[in-house]
C-alpha cells in the first residue's frame, strides 16, 4: 500500500536526469526508489521490454479506433483507399434510421433489465449462500459454470430448447403448465424477455461470486452488534450489509452496463441479423455488423462503431463521475486528480 502511494507521488515529481542519478535517490532511503541509474543501458532495456507490447497495442487497438473515426466520414465499400468523402452524412443516416433507434432502445432496455433482474436476485442468492453450509464451494462453482461456457454453446443450446416444439415448452406441458408454452424466440413482445432470461442465466453467476466476495469482507462484529441491539435480520441487511456492499454493487453495475451496451454474441447467434430486428432483440453491435461488414458498407459500419463507442464512453464517464466517484475519493484521491487511474 505504501509503495502505491509513493509511486503515485513519484510520477508527479518532474525528475530530471540529475534527480534520477545515484546520489539524490539514495539520499531519501524511505521512498522505494525503483532503480537509480537511467543511462543508455536502462533506456535500451526499457525500449526493448515495453516496445513489443506498445507496438502491438498501438497498432491493433489504438490505430483501428482512430481509423474508424476517419473512415466514418466516407462512403466506402472497403476496397482501395476511401475517396468518397461525405462528411457527417453517415452519422445523419445512423441517427435517423429507425432500425438503429430500435437497437438503441433494445440496448437501453437490456441495461435497465439486467440491473433490475440480476442485481436483486444475485444479492439475495449471495446472502443466502453466505453462511455455514455443506458444499458451499461446490455450489459456488456450479452457479458459475454458465459464465465460463462459450456464448456460442449457450446460444445454440438455448435456441434449440426454446423452439416452439422444443424442450422448454414440452417440459411446461409435462408439468401441466401447457398454457404457458410460448413462441419464445420470434414473438416480438416476448423475445426481449427471453433474451433477458438467457442473459440472467449466463451472467448471474459472476454477480453472485462477486457479491459473495464482498460479503465476506464485512466484519461479523458489525452484524453481531446490531443483532444485540435488537435489529432484525432484514434490518441488518438493509442498514449494514447493503451500504457496506456499495462499492462492490457499483462496480458490478458498471460492468453490467458496459456489457449490456456492447451485447453482440448471444443475439447474433440465437436470432441472427435478420430475425433479431423483427423479433425486437437487435442491438447496436448487431446493427453495426449487419449494416457494416455484412452489407459491405465499411464507411457506414465504422461510423456506427464510433457512435457505439461514444455512447459507451459517455455512459462510462457519467457513471464514473456521479456514481463511482465516492468509492475512489478516499482511496486514491491523489491519483484521481491526476486522472491517472481514470478511464
Amino acid at each position: 500500500m505504501t509503495a502505491r502511494v509513493d509511486s503515485a507521488t513519484e510520477i508527479d515529481v518532474p525528475t530530471g536526469p540529475a534527480h534520477r542519478d545515484g546520489g539524490v535517490a539514495q539520499a531519501t532511503p524511505p521512498s522505494p526508489r525503483r532503480r537509480r541509474g537511467n543511462g543508455w543501458g536502462a533506456r535500451l532495456e526499457i525500449a526493448l521490454l515495453v516496445g513489443p507490447a506498445l507496438i502491438v497495442f498501438l497498432g491493433l487497438v489504438i490505430f483501428p479506433v482512430v481509423m474508424a473515426a476517419y473512415y466514418g466520414f466516407f462512403s466506402w465499400k472497403g476496397f482501395g483507399p476511401p475517396t468518397d468523402f461525405i462528411g457527417f452524412r453517415n452519422y445523419l443516416t445512423i441517427v435517423q434510421d429507425p432500425a438503429f433507434q430500435e437497437a438503441v432502445l433494445h440496448n437501453g432496455t437490456i441495461v435497465v433489465l439486467s440491473l433490475l433482474l440480476q442485481g436483486p436476485a444475485a444479492f439475495l442468492l449471495a446472502l443466502l449462500l453466505n453462511r455455514r453450509m455443506r458444499g458451499q464451494s461446490i455450489i459456488r462453482v456450479l452457479i458459475f459454470v454458465p459464465y465460463v461456457i462459450a456464448e456460442v454453446v449457450v446460444g445454440t443450446g438455448w435456441s434449440l430448447m426454446l423452439q416452439t416444439n422444443g424442450a422448454v415448452n414440452d417440459q411446461l406441458e409435462k408439468m401441466g403448465l401447457g398454457f404457458l408454452a410460448q413462441d419464445w424466440l420470434s414473438n416480438p413482445d416476448l423475445a426481449i424477455w427471453t433474451l433477458m432470461g438467457i442473459i440472467t442465466w449466463k451472467y448471474i453467476g459472476f454477480a453472485v461470486i462477486l457479491f459473495l466476495a464482498g460479503l465476506q469482507g464485512i466484519p461479523d462484529e458489525l452484524n453481531e452488534a446490531a443483532a444485540i441491539d435488537g435489529a432484525t435480520f432484514w434490518q441488518i441487511q438493509r442498514h449494514i450489509t447493503l451500504p457496506l456492499m456499495g462499492p462492490t454493487l457499483r462496480i458490478w453495475a458498471f460492468l453490467s452496463i458496459i456489457g449490456s451496451l456492447q451485447l453482440f454474441d448471444l443475439v447474433y447467434i440465437i436470432w441472427g441479423q435478420y430475425v433479431a430486428s423483427t423479433a425486437g432483440t437487435s442491438t447496436m453491435a448487431t446493427y453495426m455488423v449487419a449494416e457494416g461488414r455484412n452489407a459491405g458498407n465499411f464507411g457506414y459500419g465504422n461510423a456506427v462503431a464510433v457512435v457505439l463507442f461514444v455512447i459507451s464512453l459517455v455512459v462510462a464517464l457519467v457513471y464514473q463521475r456521479f456514481v463511482l466517484r465516492r468509492d475512489t475519493e478516499g482511496a486514491i484521491t491523489g491519483d484521481q486528480k491526476k486522472g491517472r487511474f481514470q478511464r
Binding site: P32, R34, N38, E45, L49, V50, P52, L54, V56, F57, G59, L60, V61, F63, P64, V65, M67, G78, L128, L129, R131, R132, S137, R140, V141, L142, P146, V148, I149, A150, V152, V153, V154, T156, G157, L160, M161, I209, L210, P247, R250, I251, F254, Q262, F264, D265, M288, R293, F298, A305, L308, F309, S312, D327, Q336, G339, R340, F341, Q342, R343
Partner: protein, 296 residues
C-alpha cells in the same frame, strides 16, 4: 475498475482464500437454504444437461419427446463427431489460438509491466495511462476497423490474424493486474540481488519471473478462457472453414446440420468439454482472478 492498484491486494491472498474461513458465528444454513440452492443449481445446470444428454438421443426421440431422457442411449452422434476430422481440426485451431494468445499476452504483458513497475523514467505514468485507457476500447467497438487493419496486414483466414489482436486487446487488463503485483516485490530483494551482482535483467529473469507466477497464472487463465470462447473476432477474420475455431465450428455445424438436432447437440457438448475441464482444474483461480481483477 477504477481502483486498479487494489488488484494485487485482491489477487495475492488467493491461496489463503480457499475456504471461506469465516468465523463459526456465521449463521448456519437451514434446510430451506439448501432447497433454494438446489433449485438454483438445477436451473443453472439443466440447459447444460439438456445439451449433453440430448447428444445421446436420436432425432426421432427428440421429436417425439423433446425433453425426455435417452431411450435407448445411442452413442452414434458422439462417435460420428469424434471420428470426423472437422471437430479435431477445430479443436486444434482453438488450442493453437488459445495457447499462442496466452503465451503472447504473458510475455509481452510481463515485460511491459516490469518496466512500468520497477523503472523510473519520464512518461511512465503516461505510458501506464495509455495501456489502461485500452480498457475503454473493447473489441466489439473496434472490430470493423480492426478487420480492415488485419486484412491489410495480409492475415485474413490465418490464425495469426486472430492471435495478434487478441493479444493486443488482452494487454490492458494484463498490465493492470501485473503492475501492482510486480510493484509489491520488496525493494530489498532487488537490492540484495544487485549486491550479489545481479543485473536488472538478471533480476527480472531470476527473481521477478518466479515471484510473479500467481499473477501470471491469473492473467493467463483469463486470456485463455477468453480466447477459447471468443466469437466476434474469428467471425470477422476466419471465413475459410479450414481455419475455423470451435465457436465458429459449432455455429457452422448447427446451421449445416440444422435438421440433425441430436448431432448438433453432440457437437456442441463436445466443444464445451475442454472449457469445462479447464474450468474445473483452475476453478479457484478463475473465480478468484475475476473477482480480484474486478473488485475495487
Amino acid at each position: 475498475m477504477t481502483a486498479y492498484p487494489e488488484t494485487a491486494a485482491a489477487v495475492l491472498p488467493l491461496r489463503r482464500r480457499g475456504r471461506p474461513s469465516k468465523s463459526p458465528r456465521l449463521r448456519a444454513a437451514s434446510p430451506i437454504v439448501y432447497l433454494v440452492a438446489l433449485v438454483v443449481i438445477g436451473l443453472m445446470l439443466a440447459p447444460i444437461a439438456y445439451i449433453i444428454i440430448g447428444g445421446f438421443r436420436t432425432n426421432s426421440q427428440i421429436t417425439v419427446d423433446p425433453s425426455g431422457l435417452p431411450d435407448p442411449w445411442v452413442f452414434a452422434n458422439y462417435l460420428d463427431v469424434l471420428t470426423g476430422e472437422v471437430f479435431w481440426r477445430q479443436v486444434l485451431n482453438s488450442a493453437i489460438v488459445g495457447f499462442a494468445t496466452t503465451l503472447g499476452v504473458i510475455v509481452l504483458g510481463l515485460m511491459a509491466s516490469f518496466v512500468l513497475a520497477r523503472y523510473n523514467f519520464a512518461g511512465r505514468g503516461a505510458l501506464y495511462a495509455l495501456f489502461a485507457a485500452g480498457l475503454m476500447f473493447p473489441l466489439t467497438v473496434a472490430i470493423t476497423p480492426l478487420y480492415i487493419v488485419v486484412r491489410s496486414l495480409g492475415l485474413m483466414n490465418s490464425l495469426g490474424g486472430v492471435i495478434l489482436p487478441q493479444i493486443a486487446f488482452a494487454l490492458p487488463v494484463t498490465i493492470i493486474i501485473l503492475v501492482p503485483f510486480l510493484r509489491a516485490i520488496p525493494e530489498e530483494i532487488q537490492e540484495a540481488a544487485a549486491i550479489d551482482g545481479c543485473s536488472r535483467l538478471g533480476f527480472f529473469w531470476r527473481m521477478v519471473l518466479p515471484l510473479s507466477v500467481p499473477g501470471v497464472v491469473t492473467v493467463g487463465i483469463l486470456a485463455f478462457v477468453g480466447s477459447w470462447n471468443s466469437y466476434l473476432l474469428p467471425l470477422f477474420i476466419l471465413n475459410d472453414q479450414a481455419a475455423f475455431t470451435l465457436p465458429l465450428g459449432v455455429q457452422a455445424f448447427s446451421s449445416e446440420y440444422s435438421v440433425d438436432t441430436a448431432k448438433v447437440l453432440a457437437f456442441t457438448s463436445l466443444s464445451m468439454i475442454p472449457a469445462l475441464i479447464f474450468f474445473s482444474v483452475f476453478e479457484r483461480r478463475i473465480v478468484g482472478g475475476l473477482t480480484g481483477a474486478v473488485k475495487g
